[in-house]
């Protein structure tokens, strides 16, 4: 599944656009604990979190993620959006909770890394 398809199908808000909207998403990851994410999330994933501060951008960039999805209608700070744009990190948003957006993505075929082929 492509990032652009995920954005369109789930009507995600784009806070900071992707430089590679056609990238194939490898898997999804859900966590608000940054040390967990830095250790366990993989390349080209989408990361669901309700953390909105600027450190999420450094984590996503370090892990070569495809994008961050801020859940529950939360909005990233201006500082976060500015940093994301300058680093080319894709930041998206949804009104859905972490559970619901993850369920939607899972139902449309995206899996976690441990269940990915």
């Amino acid at each position: 599944m492509k990032l652009s398809e995920i954005i369109a199908e789930n009507e995600l808000t784009v806070f900071s656009p992707s430089k590679q909207p056609e990238v194939e998403i490898a898997h999804g990851y859900v966590s608000d604990m940054l040390s967990d994410v830095i250790a366990n999330a993989g390349k080209d994933c989408v990361w669901m979190t309700m953390q909105t501060h600027s450190n999420v951008i450094a984590v996503a960039a370090l892990k070569d993620m495809a994008g961050i999805i801020i859940v529950g209608g939360h909005k990233p700070s201006d500082e976060t959006i500015t940093l994301a744009k300058s680093k080319g990190v894709c930041v998206l948003g949804t009104k859905h909770t972490a559970f619901d957006i993850t369920g939607r993505l899972f139902a449309s075929g995206l899996k976690g890394e441990t269940m990915s082929p």
Partner: protein, 150 residues
Amino acid sequence: MDGQLIQMEFPVKGGNFGGAGDAASKIKNILKQLGIRYEIIKRVAIASYEAEMNIVAHAAEGTIVVEINPNAVVVAAKDKGPGIPDIDLAMKEGFSTASQQIREMGFGAGMGLPNIKKATDDMTIKTEVGVGTELTFKIFLTDNREETLK
């Protein structure tokens, strides 16, 4: 890189959460430019980020010195900080002395040092309470170990 040694130093400011991750990001980019394998870069990035966050979260200031030799990437994170009174306790997953504010940001889960240990081939901590800590880790470039980290 035959026989060559590359050394770089990055200052890290305590409490500067806005700039946290900058040193790890620079280190990652340099390793990329050197054509180091992605599996190695990934492990260096995890460990460097955690080491940098430890300085930001706990110390007044510090430096991260990276040495890339033909065999390994060696990173030394030195800080002027509170020191670690009990290293065994600090190594325990889940133990943390981080403030509530830091925990709310998603840090301070007591995963930092264990993450560094898991991601690296060698890790040593020298520390003195009230003076500071020097954390050194090494990742071999020739490592072909089974992939256990994602």
